[in-house]
Symmetry: C2
């Protein structure tokens, strides 16, 4: 998008360049040091013994045999716990003392010279249990007289959210059509390639250093302080290279204080690393939910109301899973313009696995039910799906009834773009499947909305030419049995931070050495999202250098300034603004000295190509301050040295701090502008449904996103594609199957991720709206790639075969069951 408001002064700006991630070479050559690679002198290894029962009283633990195994250096139980509780609900302890509440409850830990010895020792620990009646469903948990997971709380209901704007009755009265549906949403694991790992070490002062895969180093400092009962001032967090996080690292979990306790008990550094099995069973999952949504629209196709109620299973201990309703209500209340909204959510304890944050943080769930309901409304109105959404689209410079202040907004353009992509088909064969021709034209945008706007009915057969083009991976299929369809969905996501804590800030320091090399010390963290690269681009643009001239330091709480952590797609926006401020301060120092040397005013200068250049020549020759005869430019290193190597000299160092102009939502009404800007996106999925096998193949996924400005289009596309990969899994394959509190598929054979070979062609379209608050106009994009995917696919499945899927993932079994049910109903 050609934007005349662009803030860029630099004609060959590094902003907007496709620059490979700075850490890519080290990652692909194996030189990167991940947590599993951290080895300290004398380091020991820890393993954890988990409960045998989902709910039981622990009568006795005998660790004597385990302690005698050669190589075992320590055995820990709840007797080693500090007296404090920790976690979002202050309901957790490192080891469990009297009661266990889930099969991932930590009973004991062994520290040994070798992880295998520690594992062997676990088997020697004898635990005597008295099983208690378990609760595995939210319905059971809320039944009066149900066994209490935390008896001191008197109820298994942890918390409730109740949000309102407008008036539902008014909304319903204004409605021409009303639709309603109920949904069941599954457990999903973040499934990072690297399992959770931590190395803990105490120094002679009793200060703890923890090498960690956390996403919230500064908050973990606080959380560990609570969990261990030592001052936060005595805790240093060093983030290792992180092999995937996706929300897993947004809270403290018992293994982290356990590692610290192991280190303190043995007096040695201790590495505690999850197996893949543990990663699935003891890692935090996207929480399952039962949702009912009702929504209406008036005769003009304008939305009238939404009414959402849900119950979430948060498991045996509270983590950030219990706060996802805040995000879900944002989609329900503010995605598209809806005058009347009610949203209610209850978070309920069970004896199931603990839940937490996973990328999108409630939004994949809420977008799934909201956007499939949008589809039903359009259908009921007999409106074109894209047109209906455009009509109701959020608009720039508006405020939603929830109090979200929408500044830049490209939702309409996103919808137009994916609708056009649907009409055009995929021309090239570069994707996971061959070039896909369009179905017959389905959208005639620009026409006025009317009930006849929908062209083409659900269940249209795919044309006969498509299968020939799909390449060798194409299953042979009977075209009569394989139906094609397209579906749309949009997403609204915070794009300018999210004030969940009182501070949403981030600090940055930019220093330039005597040779023009720049160090950016940023509070933010690199967790694979490419933040180092984007932040380096921002600083490089301001200072007129290349990203290779910049070293980004971002891993050590003792070195870097504060940051709230990596969540809510906030790093480019928040840390980017902080880096921008610091870089501009450093540049002002460079300009001051360069102006003095060159005999010009600072505002005549520009930083580019490693030099400070004069952009206007006037007055240089006559200026008595000029030390050099009519110069045109001077290298950055020379400016830095000139400023520095003299009596009363100074070095180049700029400080930046950015906390966005946002508010905490009101604690009663949940209203308020939580983010400084909002990202938008739309996806168009084209699918084939094999009615005989139930297999859904996604042929194309067109993703258009309002990214404000793409500082690094390649990185943005990577974020969107990565998000889509998780969205595809959420839609079609990923489910942590939990039965009686037990995870039945804790490995990658049974828990099916979308692999590179499974991926459809992803078409990404970056809509640049030049956000007024974002650094160079950028806003956050991390989560948007995956949030609308399941809804778009579900809508495409309906388009293909006429079934409305309300349960995820949409497995062949579930597709076949729905087709069967539909056939029976129509029979």
């Amino acid at each position: 998008m050609n934007n005349p408001k662009s803030k860029i002064q630099n004609p060959k700006s590094i902003i907007g360049q496709r620059i490979p991630k700075l850490d890519a070479p080290d990652k692909v050559t194996g030189r990167m040091t991940y947590g599993h690679d951290v080895t300290l002198p004398g380091m020991l290894h820890g393993r954890i013994l988990y409960s045998r029962y989902p709910h039981a009283r622990v009568l006795n633990i005998d660790t004597s045999r385990a302690g005698q195994l050669p190589g075992v250096k320590g055995v820990l139980t709840a007797a080693d716990n500090p007296p404090t509780k920790f976690g979002y609900g202050k309901d957790n302890t490192p080891f469990k003392r009297d009661n266990v509440r889930s099969l991932r409850d930590e009973i004991a830990g062994v520290v040994a010279t070798d992880p295998d010895i520690a594992e062997e020792a676990l088997a020697l620990i004898e635990v005597e249990y008295e099983p208690l009646p378990p609760v595995f469903t939210v319905t059971d948990a809320l039944t009066p007289g149900a066994p209490l997971i935390h008896p001191e709380r008197k109820s298994n209901l942890f918390n409730s959210f109740d949000y309102n704007h407008g008036d539902l009755e008014t909304g319903e009265a204004e409605s021409e059509v009303v639709v309603e549906a109920s949904y069941r949403l599954p457990y999903v694991n973040a499934a990072a390639m690297e399992t959770s790992v931590v190395v803990a070490q105490f120094d002679h002062r009793g200060h703890l250093t923890m090498w960690s895969v956390t996403q919230i180093p500064f908050l973990l400092q606080r959380d560990l302080s609570e969990a261990l009962g030592i001052p936060g001032s005595q805790i240093r967090i060093i983030q290792t290279a992180i092999g995937g996080a996706f929300g897993r690292g947004l809270d403290i979990y018992p293994f982290e204080p356990i590692a610290a306790l192991m280190s303190r008990k043995t007096g040695k550094p201790v590495r505690l690393a999850f197996s893949r099995h543990e990663e699935f069973t003891a890692g935090p999952a996207r929480q399952p939910a039962q949702v009912t949504i009702r929504a209406g629209a008036d005769k003009n196709g304008k939305l009238t109301f939404r009414d959402v109620s849900m119950v979430l299973d948060i498991g045996a201990y509270v983590s950030w899973g219990s706060v996802t309703p805040l995000v879900m209500m944002e989609t329900a209340a503010s995605l598209y313009e809806v005058p009347h909204v009610h949203f209610k959510a209850d978070c309920v304890y069970t004896n199931n696995p603990v839940t937490g944050a996973v990328r999108g943080y409630g939004n994949p769930q809420s977008t799934f039910f909201t956007e499939t309901i949008m589809d039903r409304l359009a259908e009921a109105l007999r409106m074109d799906q894209a047109q209906f959404r455009i009509l109701n689209s959020n608009r720039p410079n508006t405020e939603t009834p929830q109090g979200l202040i929408i500044t830049s907004c490209g939702l309409k353009e996103c919808l137009e773009t994916v609708a056009a992509a649907a009409d055009k088909g995929s021309a090239d064969g570069a994707g996971g499947v061959g070039g896909i021709p369009p179905l017959s034209p389905r959208h005639t945008l620009g026409m006025k909305p009317n009930k006849g706007g929908s062209i083409g009915a659900p269940g249209q057969e795919s044309n006969g030419t498509s299968t020939e083009r799909l390449g060798s991976r194409q299953l042979t299929m009977d075209n009569d049995k394989v139906k094609r369809g397209i579906g749309f969905a949009s997403t609204l996501n915070v794009g300018g931070g999210a004030r969940i804590y009182r501070s949403d800030g981030c600090g940055a320091t930019v220093k330039m050495d005597d040779f023009g090399h720049v160090t950016l010390i940023t509070g933010s963290s690199e967790i694979g999202q490419g933040s180092e690269t984007v932040l380096a681009q921002i600083v490089a643009d301001v200072l007129g250098v290349q990203v290779s001239d910049i070293t980004v330091l971002n891993s050590d709480t003792d070195v870097k300034p504060w940051d709230v952590g990596v969540h809510a797609s906030r790093t480019t926006f928040i840390a980017g603004n902080a880096a921008h401020i610091a870089a501009k301060e450093a540049r002002a120092q460079l300009f001051e000295t360069a102006a003095e040397i060159l005999g010009v005013e600072p505002d005549q200068l520009i930083a580019r190509n490693g030099k400070i250049e004069v952009i206007a020549d006037k007055a240089t020759e006559d200026n008595p301050k000029s030390k050099i005869q009519n110069p045109k430019s001077i290298s950055l290193g020379k400016v830095a040295r000139s400023r520095h190597f003299r009596e009363g000299g100074q070095v180049i160092i700029g400080e930046g701090w950015y906390d966005p102009p946002t508010k905490l939502v009101d604690k009663d009404t949940y209203k308020g502008n939580i983010s400084a800007t909002y990202g938008f996106g739309s996806q168009m999925a084209e699918v084939e449904v094999d009615t005989e096998t139930g297999i859904v193949r996604v042929l194309r996924l067109a993703c258009a996103n309002d990214v404000g400005r793409a500082i690094n289009p390649m990185a943005v596309e990577g974020q969107i594609e990565g998000g889509a990969q998780m969205g595809l899994g959420y839609a079609l394959t990923e489910e942590l199957i939990v039965k009686d509190g037990q995870v039945l598929n804790p490995d990658f054979r049974l828990y099916r991720l979308f692999t590179a070979a499974d991926m459809p062609k992803i078409e990404t379209f970056l809509i640049e709206t030049d956000d007024p608050e974002g650094p160079f106009g950028a806003k956050g994009v991390c989560e948007m790639g995956g949030t609308p995917t399941a809804a778009a696919i579900a809508n495409a499945i309906y388009d293909a075969v006429g079934i409305r899927m309300t349960e995820l993932p949409m497995t062949p079994e579930r597709i076949l069951a729905a087709l069967d049910k539909k056939q029976k109903e129509s029979a």
Copy 2:
């Protein structure tokens, strides 16, 4: 010293506390990571082949057999050199190409999987030489027609210094007495416990990271850039824990670029570590010199003139050894008030080992000849030694003819203190020897100087009671043969930095986390001197915390702000001021927020005991801004969090930069105020000389030093004692014996350091003069402990047995020879 001008506002200040070094526990428990401990994945090991001849043409190098040895990964020669030269004189290259000029000239290098394999491969390298006539003395080197070490220079004279103030003829005419002597000063090795070591690694960008024991990380960045021909912006220096430096690390030496070349050639990280033998033969030595000094005093005992000329052997390549005359002339021109001074020094190339900086940097040499000449003058005047020095002492708030601006100055007090110590004797038995009673009173201070002021003549016998008290280590000796004497010497040393480079600055960042933990990122380096602890005390005092609440980061050029390096006793003063500035900025932020919370003005607040306290209660109750009912204090963490966790919040971070108000000396006259303040000290040595064996035993060493203010008296005493240990070695035992360009004693068996068991009792007296520019009044002390020691001992030897020693070290052989000569002369 009770100082009414003290700047300290904090009644229980941490300034002046005896706090153990922060890194001591890690050092004594072996947890510290020294350069020899740095191990990187895939790391290889390098070894260097040195020349077989001190001067030769290299005809051929055959590395083929070495390259075939299993485990060898690369063999390098001058063919691998970049085209540039490096070093202070730009006369050095990593490997030597055509000519070798000393036995430490690097011919080739081997990289292997193991240092022993690399060593074995060195023996397989065949080098064909054509020997050239060598030059081993400065006299030979300056003889017309002498072989030229660097033929392109046309002369072996590298540089000359010629300094004048006043007029020698006038001075001589005003003199009542004139004395003259010539001196021969030896090679001395820094003899750090840790040998030189470096680990070099290139990343995928071609950027070099070097783990190094350097003292000048930022200058090494520049030096390596020159030596390797890569931009300085691509070089990162990480200082490891440093096991002794003492000036060794003030320049680049060939092993450093060689390690980088080895890494680049093999594509692997390479560790290159010196053996002890190499440390002695290839490390930079304190340069030998031949000195002649004439000096006079008038009939009132006032100094009239000094005339010094010297020739220094700088070896085959120039390093900072060639700049030590700058410091030597400072002693000659400005220690005591001398109206007429001439100083001349020539630095000469030879085929001897390379020389460099060693602690004191010229000052032990110049103090030795200046203060033994002072002794001769006092003797000639028949004045009391201490009284004569006090009479001529530098005074506060004066400017020397050299342009040194003396602000605080406690030289007189230092002299009075050691004179009193001489009179009093040592009362306790805590030192290396038992309590030493005083000789008969020697000093009656306060009396007017007169020629009869000297009490007691040279050669006084020790009294008979002393030997009984000297404990079990006392040799049996005939008291007739063992003579006791005392001697004095003083020192002048830069104490407020030294503007050798155009910048003498240092940067600091102080950040406080949410829990009151403080990180100080300082440009300065810890090389064992205790700077971390002193800087932590400065910051702790300002912020009202304990040193255990502070983490000092100081090892990584990418993290820390610029600093010129560790030399010239500058860290406490320069880095201390920078840290002080940064801490005060951070405190101002704390006060701003605390004032707002407490409803008072910032100037009513004080930071102490981890809290911000109100020091005046007025107006708090009525203040509408007050949020807390008449509070008395608030914890630092709470203030930090309050400032931070709110909309528009900020974190606590202060930046400091300090470059002292000094000047580069004039390049022609060598005049100018090089340091922002000057340290002074005096020592009194009491010795026994065994006239039969020539053995000199130092019984006591009383050291009084004007330290401005002792921020950590224990650390200051440690510095003085450590300096004295080197001074004792310089006086009595340490000499690198070089014959025909070869070091004959390259190990600790033959090169004799003063060990703990050898040390005499050291009495330290800290004279606090509250320097107006120093942080909390402090000035630098690092080098002063060792500079006057040799002179004090030589003067004591004269006092004991009447011989004037002019050659160091004063070994038994030299003592016996001098006694023999004296006996023959008197016979």
